[in-house]
């Protein structure tokens, strides 16, 4: 033996520190050199390092910056024959325990986290490092670490997404010919019972062992090309959607339903319907943008964006429907329709050219009454904006009776009498009313009966079998249809949306 090398002959009488000092003395232990074992044929075998991880908790899987924090106990186990003290100290059967100081005097495999943002070893006064050397030379090192790791989230189905976050451990210095990483065979990854994930639920996890090839085009290991051993474990997390349902989906359903209040208002009520449409859209954009702040800007369309866009289209559609209905309301022509069903009403409403052309043809065919047609159109338009049309009905009845009195039976006379009686009961100025009606009737008698009769006859021939709808009636009809069409469409949209969410 060299004179400078302390002896190990009396290992039992030494204290633990003295024994370790002699075991790790420079003459017999080189802490820069890995332990070397040989196979039966004399080849150098790589060091097998067995890893085990215990996760205390995970924290803040932040979608905003794609990170998550992990607090774990990381344990490495390997065999170093140079530290075998069974022969030199047979009575010592318990492993030698030490902390950071002991670890600093040993050779230690350098393992790094490939996807780390930052990491550190926890500890208050000293680092939480536990080093244990068994009598046969097995070294077990445990570290309590805190690591911020990157998790590349896929937010396509946000907020109904599932994420896979990996933790990758790699050998820094030695390639697979010198050092090979393994997971322990029994329970390599375990978790604390209360993992304290607030937004996600841990479904399952698995561990994996691979080999990573590093060359000049992939410089993960400095300048040394070769195959490096790599371990990884992956957690499968499912986002809990209760928060998003309560705070975003339910309020947006209510806001879309409020925009349908517009269909119950009258078509000419422009100020309230415009206020209703713009305010619901403003409220909805406020709600949608509040959710967008919690996410990174990604290029693909997320499921939540599909939802918000669909709801925006519904609110926009109610505004467009109002513009359509208000334009129809302000028309001046009545629209004749064959039957009172959807097809004919829409057809007549959306094709005003035929009506105009037909009116033009009519005026040409009866050149003698062109001026009267123009006056007729003006009067009808004027009547549409006030209630005089209703007021004129009794005159119509009386006049008809007066005209037909000279040609038809006495039943018309009875009808006229009934109307007179009703008028007398309905108003206070019965005498003046009766006088006025009589005067009107008398004045009508003086006109040319033949011309009046022929005009009425032609009108009757033209409009036989058709029903006339005023623009206001068409507008109301469209509004009453929209009251069912929009909620039904929204229901169908929800059906497709939630089917897509839960089936794909």
């Amino acid at each position: 033996l060299d004179e400078d090398c302390p002896t190990l002959d009396d290992g039992d009488s030494l204290s633990q520190t003295q024994l370790l000092d002699r075991l790790t003395h420079g003459c017999r232990y080189d802490r820069l050199e890995r332990p070397i074992t040989y196979s039966e044929t004399g080849q150098r075998l790589p060091v097998d390092v067995y890893m085990r991880a215990y996760i205390y908790f995970m924290q803040n899987l932040e979608a905003h910056d794609l990170q998550f924090k992990i607090y774990a106990l990381l344990q490495m186990r390997y065999l170093d024959p140079r530290l075998n003290f069974r022969n030199v100290s047979p009575k010592r059967r318990q492993p030698i325990l030490g902390e950071e100081h002991l670890r600093n005097s040993l050779w230690m495999p350098h393992i790094f986290l490939a996807n780390e943002r930052d990491s550190s070893i926890l500890g208050l006064t000293e680092k939480d490092i536990l080093t244990s050397i068994s009598p046969d030379g097995t070294v077990i090192v445990s570290n309590r670490i805190k690591a911020t790791l990157y998790c590349w989230l896929n937010l396509k189905k946000f907020p109904f997404d599932e994420q896979h976050c990996s933790t990758v451990l790699e050998s820094w210095m030695y390639n697979t010919s010198e050092l090979v990483l393994h997971w322990e065979q029994k329970r390599p990854i375990t978790y604390d019972g209360a993992l304290h994930l607030t937004e996600f639920v841990l479904q399952r996890s698995w561990s994996n062992e691979t080999v990573i090839n590093a060359d000049l085009s992939d410089l993960r290991h400095g300048a040394f090309a070769g195959n490096y051993s790599s371990l990884s474990f992956t957690v499968h997390l499912t986002r809990v959607v209760g928060f998003y349902l309560m705070d975003y989906f339910l309020p947006s359903m209510l806001i879309v339903a409020i925009s349908w209040v517009s269909f119950w208002l009258q078509a000419d009520q422009a100020p309230p319907r415009i206020t209703l449409g713009t305010s619901t859209l403003l409220t909805f954009i406020t709600l949608a943008s509040a959710q967008g702040k919690t996410l990174p800007k990604v290029s693909y369309i997320k499921v939540s964006e599909v939802w918000f866009l669909g709801c925006t289209i519904f609110i926009f559609g109610s505004m467009v429907e109002f513009a359509f209905v208000n334009t129809i309301w302000r028309r001046k022509k009545s629209v004749p329709v064959k039957k009172l069903n959807s097809k004919h009403i829409l057809k007549s409403t959306l094709s005003p050219n035929l009506l105009r052309r037909r009116s033009h043809a009519r005026s040409r065919s009866f050149s003698g009454t062109a001026l009267h047609k123009t006056a007729d159109t003006g009067s009808l338009g004027g009547a549409g904006f006030n209630n005089y049309l209703t007021v004129n009905l009794p005159i119509t009845t009386i006049k008809e009776g007066q005209v037909l009195d000279q040609q038809r039976t006495s039943r018309v006379v009875q009808k006229m009498d009934v109307n007179f009686v009703e008028s007398a009961f309905g108003s206070m100025g019965s005498a003046q009313s009766t006088g006025a009606i009589s005067a009107a009737s008398s004045s009508q008698t003086l006109t040319n009966n033949n011309r009046t009769e022929s005009a009425g006859h032609q009108e009757e021939i033209d409009l036989s079998g058709w029903t006339t709808l005023t623009p206001q009636e068409i507008a109301m009809w469209i509004d009453s249809r929209a009251r069912f069409v929009f909620p039904l469409s929204f229901l169908v949209f929800n059906l497709f949306f939630w089917t897509f969410v839960y089936c794909i």
Binding site: Q16, T125, S142, K146, I255, V261, L282, N392, K399, V421
Partner: protein, 508 residues
């Protein structure tokens, strides 16, 4: 004799030179004495400890030959058996801050004191006259074996101090070691927000032995004042109700490997602070404004049903204000999956504002109807029943419309003749609008009964009129009636909801 001296000379060669006198027996004895002295000189002596400096004394006390700083002291009881070492802890907290609801952390600054007995450091036998403890800072601590305690729920922790760490170590004459550390720790508090913002939180801090299990080390709290708080302790959002402290055991095995591969029971001491959230901020900033906004939406019921711009603006603007208010509160919270109390509150208030807008749509639609309601009595049942069955009137009105079109055409024809009499007729006819509608209905009757006699018709119509007048409500009257009812129904429902809500809040 020569061989003996030769062997002795060879064996002692490594330890120094020895003068050998082959003829005298006294010289051999002297050699033996020298050997004893050289063996004693390897371990520094403590005989003249009185004249030593404290640093010298400590250096000799903690020399490797009698003190191994990697090995815990071995404690024996009266029977000579080996018992685990008891470590007593005390914690004094003078700052507790940043109790944050969004990332579930809080920061504690305090003084952690550990006390244990290490017989290897007893110096009363060497220094009988000294009764004060030996005091030192970090350098003294590095020479000793100190128990390693870690905080299980820590996010980050550090020892405070500017130029040197704020650590104080005292060694008493009987070997009791007292270490005090000023530390700052950011700890996780796993909060439950089910009753937010009326919640109570229990933040538990656990100190655990890192290396040695219960066969070697056991942690205890001091019997007097184990956990105490500074009187000037100020929490911004919470009130400190009290604290609990506890000692327990954590089992480390294969499935619960919290201590590396070393299985066994580990000693744990923990203290829990009980905190109550101060609700004044939330009541003044969120609950009272939301009550006001919901109340403002009821102003709609005092407006007339045809005041559509005012009522829709009122409904939409209150909803926009309310959504903005509820969104600003959601930023204060961690995203949790369960339903919190504040979410229940905000959702129900939104439903109330939504309900007032829906009620306006209903009332406005009724206002614009053209048919009177025929009621048996003016009671709620008949009014609601008649309002919700418009089918009969719709059919009747449909049939009437065609006749109306024909009359409209005839009216147009009549206006074609003269302009002067037309104006006169319009002016005179205005007072009989109601009469017009009545005559319209009666015209329908007369058209259907053309074969009847004149006298019979007159008597029948005169009899029907009083009955209809007594039990008729116009659509506007129905709208006003509904609005008047809603002025009581909505506030009453809201009061009932508030009674249920605050009962749930304070009784659960």
């Amino acid at each position: 004799a020569g061989v003996h001296l030769g062997d002795l000379q060879q064996n002692l060669a490594a330890n120094g030179s020895v003068v050998v006198s082959p003829l005298n027996t006294t010289d051999a004895f002297s050699v033996s004495i020298n050997l004893s002295q050289s063996t004693v000189n390897n371990c520094p002596s403590l005989k003249n400890a009185e004249s030593m400096a404290l640093m010298e004394l400590l250096t000799r006390l903690t020399a490797p030959c009698r003190y191994d700083r990697m090995v815990p002291p071995v404690v024996h009881n009266k029977d000579g058996e080996e018992v685990p070492m008891d470590i007593y802890a005390r914690f004094y907290i003078y700052v507790m801050k940043n109790l944050d609801s969004s990332d579930l952390q809080f920061t504690v600054q305090g003084l952690l004191q550990l006390r244990y007995l290490d017989p290897r450091l007893a110096f009363s036998s060497y220094l009988p006259n000294r009764r004060q403890p030996i005091m030192g800072e970090s350098e003294l601590k590095k020479m000793l074996w100190v128990p390693h305690i870690f905080l299980t729920n820590e996010q980050a922790s550090t020892v405070l101090g500017t130029s040197a760490k704020d650590e104080l170590t005292s060694i008493y004459p009987n070997g009791t070691v007292l270490t005090s550390t000023r530390l700052q720790a950011t700890l996780y508090c796993w909060m439950n927000f089910q009753k937010f913002p009326f919640d109570e939180q229990k933040c538990k801090t656990t100190l655990e032995s890192w290396m040695y299990n219960t066969t070697l080390v056991q942690l205890h709290w001091e019997t007097d004042n184990p956990v105490s708080f500074d009187k000037q302790l100020q929490l911004t959002e919470y009130n400190l109700i009290g604290s609990l402290y506890n000692e327990s055991i954590r089992v480390s095995n294969e499935s619960y490997m919290s201590h590396g591969s070393l299985e066994g029971n580990y000693s744990i001491i923990s203290f829990t602070v009980l905190l109550t959230r101060e609700v004044g901020y939330y009541v003044i900033d969120y609950f009272l404004p939301s009550i006001m906004i919901v109340t403002i939406s009821w102003v709609s019921f005092w407006l007339q049903a045809d005041q559509t711009p005012a009522r829709t603006t009122l409904g939409c603007t209150t909803l926009l204000s309310f959504i903005t208010l509820s969104l600003s509160q959601e930023n204060n919270l961690m995203k949790v999956s369960y339903v919190t109390m504040s979410e229940v509150w905000f959702l129900v208030c939104t439903i109330f504002i939504f309900g007032s807008l829906v009620e306006f749509a209903f009332v406005n639609t009724i206002w614009r109807r053209n048919n009177d309601l025929q009621l048996k009595k003016r009671t709620t049942k008949y009014i609601v029943k008649s309002t919700f069955v418009p089918h009969l009137k719709k059919h009747r009105r449909h049939g009437y419309r065609r006749t109306d079109s024909t009359m409209s055409t005839m009216s147009t024809t009549s206006m074609d003749k003269t302009c002067g009499p037309n104006n006169t007729v319009i002016t005179i006819e205005t007072p009989i609008i109601i009469g017009g509608s009545l005559s319209r209905e009666d015209s329908a009757i007369s058209l259907d009964e053309q074969d009847e006699t004149s006298t019979s018709e007159s008597s029948d119509s005169s009899k029907e009129k009083p009955a209809q007048t007594f039990a008729t409500m116009t659509p506007k009257e129905v709208s006003l009636w509904i609005d008047r009812k809603m002025r009581f129904v909505f506030p009453l429902s809201f009061i009932v909801f508030n009674a249920l809500f605050w009962t749930l809040v304070y009784c659960l």
